[in-house]
C-alpha cells in the first residue's frame, strides 16, 4: 500500500507536468489564469490546499496590484503631475490660478494620515479622517435627499391619470402610476420609525414591505442572470482561451 505522502508527491508532480505542457502549448499567462480559476472553483467541493493557495495568491497579488494602481492613479497622476501642471500654468505661463493646485490639499491630508507612524503625533491622523467623514456626510446628504426624496416626490405628486400622445387616457400607464404611488407612499410609511406598525398604520406599512419584497424578488432573478453571465464568461475563458475547444 502506497504511502499517502508518496501519492501526494506523485499528484503534484503530474500536476506540474500537465501545467508545464499546457503552459508551453497555450501560453503561460492564460494557463496561470486557468490554474487559479479552477483553484477558486475547487471551493465548491470543499476547502482544500489548492483553494488556499489560490486564495492567498489572489489576495496577495490583488493587494499589491491595488497599491500600485492607486499610487499611479492618485499620487502620481493627480498629485505629482497635477501640481506640476498647475505650477507650469501659474508660474511658467503666468496663467494665474489653476484648479489643480487643490490637489495639494489632498496631499497634505495624506501626509497628516501618515502621522500614525509616529506614536507621539498619531493623534493628528484623526484630522484627515474627520475631513473625509464630514465631507462625505455633507456631500451625500444632498445627493441622497435629491435622488431618494425630492425626485421620488416629484414622480408621485402629480395627476394619477396618464394620457398618450393623442390625448387619450392611457389605462396601463395610469395603472402603472397608481402602483408607483401606492408603492412609494406605503414604503415611506414602512420606514417611519416613530410609530409602531400596528392597526391601519401597520396595514399600510405591510403593503410597503410587500412592495419591497416583490421588488427584491424581481431584482433577485435579474441579478442571478447577470451572475450566470459571469460564470459563462469564466467557462468561456477555460474552454476558448485556454483549452481552445471552442472557436
Amino acid at each position: 500500500m502506497m504511502n499517502t505522502k508518496v501519492v501526494g508527491y506523485i499528484v503534484i508532480a503530474v500536476g506540474i507536468a500537465v501545467f508545464a505542457i499546457l503552459a508551453a502549448s497555450q501560453g503561460l499567462a492564460v494557463t496561470l489564469g486557468a490554474f487559479f480559476t479552477i483553484g477558486i472553483f475547487s471551493f465548491l467541493y470543499k476547502d482544500n490546499p489548492y483553494y488556499k493557495f489560490s486564495e492567498a495568491a489572489f489576495v496577495g497579488i490583488s493587494a499589491g496590484y491595488w497599491f500600485v494602481s492607486l499610487f499611479w492613479q492618485n499620487m502620481y497622476s493627480k498629485l505629482f503631475v497635477g501640481v506640476g501642471a498647475a505650477y507650469h500654468t501659474t508660474f511658467v505661463q503666468g496663467g494665474g490660478w489653476d484648479d489643480r493646485w487643490m490637489m495639494l490639499i489632498g496631499g497634505l491630508l495624506g501626509v497628516l494620515m501618515l502621522m500614525r507612524l509616529f506614536p507621539k503625533a498619531g493623534w493628528i491622523s484623526r484630522w484627515p479622517l474627520a475631513v473625509v467623514v464630514g465631507a462625505t456626510a455633507g456631500l451625500y446628504f444632498i445627493n441622497y435627499f435629491v435622488s431618494n426624496g425630492i425626485l421620488q416626490l416629484g414622480a408621485s405628486a402629480g395627476p394619477l391619470q396618464r394620457y398618450d400622445a393623442a390625448g387619450n387616457l392611457d389605462l396601463w400607464a395610469t395603472i402603472s402610476q397608481a402602483i408607483l404611488v401606492i408603492g412609494t407612499l406605503s414604503g415611506l410609511i414602512y420606514f417611519y420609525f416613530s410609530k409602531e406598525h400596528k392597526g391601519a398604520f401597520g396595514g399600510v406599512a405591510k403593503i410597503g414591505i410587500w412592495t419591497l419584497m416583490l421588488t427584491f424578488g424581481a431584482s433577485f432573478g435579474y441579478t442571478v442572470m447577470s451572475r450566470l453571465s459571469l460564470l459563462i464568461g469564466r467557462m468561456d475563458y477555460l474552454m476558448s482561451d485556454w483549452l481552445q475547444l471552442i472557436n
Binding site: G154, S156, T215
Partner: protein, 414 residues
C-alpha cells in the same frame, strides 16, 4: 458625372458609412461648411435646408467642463417636411476650423450638451442637418450642410446651483431645525420612541452566542471606502457591536477591504474598548486589511468562514456582487448572520441568505437604535419629520393633480 456632382454640391456633405454600427465616421471626418464630400455610390441625396442659427453657452449651474449648444430646427425638420434624419454637432477651438464631430442629435431636437470640453477655452460650434438614406447595396449615405458659426463659448463651473438651492434649501432648513430640536429634547432626558427593528433586537443575543460558543464574531463594514455613506453607517454600528463584544469578551474580527476603513474602524473599536473599561482587550489586529479587490476580498472571507467557523457574522455597509458569495458561505457554516445595506440590488441576496436583514434606511437608523445616543436619536426623529412632510406633499400633489386643480410635480424637479 462626378464633376457635375461636385459643382452642384458646393456646400454638400455626404458621409458614406459602411453599416449603421460604424459611428466612427463622424469623428474620422472633420467637416466644415466649405468641405465637400460626395458619395461615389448612387443615388445622390439632396441636403436638407441648413440650420440657420446656432448658440453655444456655458452650461449653467454645473461643475464646469460642459457647454450647451442650441439651434433652430432646419426648415426641413417641421411638420409636413420631415426630411432631416439627424443633426451633427461640429466643434473647433478656432473659428477657422478644423471642425470635429462631437455629437449628434435626432431630428426634432434643438439642444445638446457637450461634456468633453476644458474650462476656460474658447470653443466654436456648427450644426449640420443631415438627411440619410440606405443605398440598394446597404450603404448608408448622409447629406447635409453645416450651419453658420456660433459665438465663442467658454466652460466654467459654478459654486451654487441656483434653482436646486432654492428648491432644496427650505427642506434642508426644516429637517435641520427638526433634528436639532429633537436632539435638544433627547438631551433633556425625554425618552424618544424608535420602533423595534427586527434584526437589531437580536444583536445582543448574536454577540452573546459568539462568546458562549468560544468562536469569532466577524464584522464586515461593507466593501466600499469612507466616501460612501453606507460605510459611515457600518462603521458607526461597529462601534456599538465592539462595545458589546468587549463587554461579553467575544473575539471580534473586522476584516476590511479599504485602508481608510481600516484606520477609521481601528479608532472606533479602540474607543469602544476604552469606553467599557477594557483597553487591555483591544488589539490593533482586530481590524485588519485584506485587499481592495472585490472578489479577492470575498475569496479571503470565504476561506476565513470555513476555517474558523465564526458564530456570528455582521454585514453592515455597501455591498455589490460579493454579497451572495459571502452570505451563502456564512449560511453554510451555520453562523447567525445579520446584514444591512441600502444597495437595493444586493438586498435580495441578504434577505435570502441571512437570518435578519436591515433594509435601506433601517441601516442608518440602526446606530441610533442600538446606542440610544441623543444626537443619533434626534437625527432619526428629524428624518421622520421630513418623511411626514414628503408624504403630505405627495398626497396633496396627487389630489390636486388628479382632480385637475393644479399640477405641482414640477416643483420637485431639481
Amino acid at each position: 458625372m462626378m464633376k457635375k456632382a461636385l459643382s452642384i454640391s458646393l456646400f454638400l456633405l455626404v458621409f458614406p458609412v459602411c453599416g449603421a454600427a460604424s459611428p466612427a465616421w463622424a469623428q474620422d471626418a472633420p467637416v466644415d461648411s466649405t468641405t465637400v464630400v460626395v458619395a461615389e455610390t448612387p443615388p445622390q441625396l439632396e441636403a436638407p435646408a441648413p440650420v440657420v442659427s446656432v448658440e453655444a453657452q456655458d452650461t449653467p449651474d454645473d461643475a464646469g467642463k460642459s457647454i450647451t449648444i442650441s439651434w433652430e430646427l432646419s426648415a426641413d425638420d417641421v411638420a409636413g417636411r420631415r426630411n432631416v434624419t439627424k443633426y451633427i454637432i461640429l466643434r473647433s477651438t478656432s473659428p477657422d476650423g478644423p471642425f470635429d464631430t462631437v455629437g449628434s442629435a435626432t431630428a426634432g431636437m434643438t439642444t445638446l450638451t457637450d461634456g468633453q470640453v476644458d474650462n476656460g477655452v474658447n470653443y466654436y460650434y456648427k450644426v449640420a442637418a443631415l438627411a440619410g438614406k440606405f443605398t440598394p447595396a446597404g450603404e448608408k449615405l448622409f447629406a447635409g450642410v453645416a450651419s453658420p458659426l456660433s459665438g465663442a463659448a467658454k466652460a466654467s463651473g459654478q459654486w451654487f446651483h441656483i434653482i436646486r438651492t432654492a428648491r432644496i434649501l427650505p427642506w434642508v432648513l426644516v429637517i435641520g431645525i427638526s433634528i436639532l430640536w429633537f436632539i435638544n429634547v433627547a438631551k433633556k432626558g425625554k425618552d424618544l420612541y424608535v420602533r423595534p427593528i427586527a434584526g437589531l433586537a437580536e444583536v445582543e443575543q448574536a454577540v452573546g452566542r459568539a462568546t458562549e460558543m468560544g468562536r469569532k464574531l466577524v464584522y464586515i463594514p461593507g466593501t466600499q471606502d469612507m466616501d460612501n455613506v453606507q460605510t459611515l453607517a457600518g462603521v458607526t454600528i461597529l462601534g456599538r457591536i465592539a462595545k458589546l463584544a468587549a463587554e461579553y469578551d467575544a473575539q471580534l474580527d473586522v476584516p476590511v477591504s479599504r485602508s481608510l476603513v481600516m484606520i477609521t474602524s481601528r479608532e472606533v473599536v479602540k474607543e469602544a474598548y476604552l469606553n467599557v473599561g477594557r483597553p487591555d482587550a483591544f488589539n490593533e489586529d482586530i481590524v485588519r486589511y485584506l485587499t481592495d479587490d472585490q472578489f479577492g476580498y470575498a475569496a479571503a472571507l470565504d476561506g476565513l468562514f470555513v476555517r474558523e467557523k465564526p458564530a456570528t457574522i455582521f454585514y453592515m455597509g455597501a455591498f455589490y456582487a460579493e454579497s451572495l458569495i459571502m452570505a451563502e458561505t456564512g449560511n453554510a457554516i451555520g453562523a447567525i448572520q445579520i446584514a444591512g445595506t441600502a444597495n437595493a440590488s444586493q438586498l435580495p441576496f441578504f434577505v435570502a441568505a441571512c437570518d435578519y436583514t436591515l433594509i435601506g434606511e433601517e441601516l442608518f437608523a440602526a446606530s441610533a437604535y442600538l446606542s440610544k445616543e441623543p444626537k443619533l436619536l434626534g437625527s432619526v426623529k428629524g428624518q421622520d419629520v421630513a418623511k411626514v412632510l414628503i408624504l403630505i406633499a405627495a398626497v396633496a400633489g396627487l389630489l390636486l393633480g388628479t382632480f385637475k386643480i393644479a399640477d405641482i410635480s414640477g416643483w420637485f424637479q431639481v
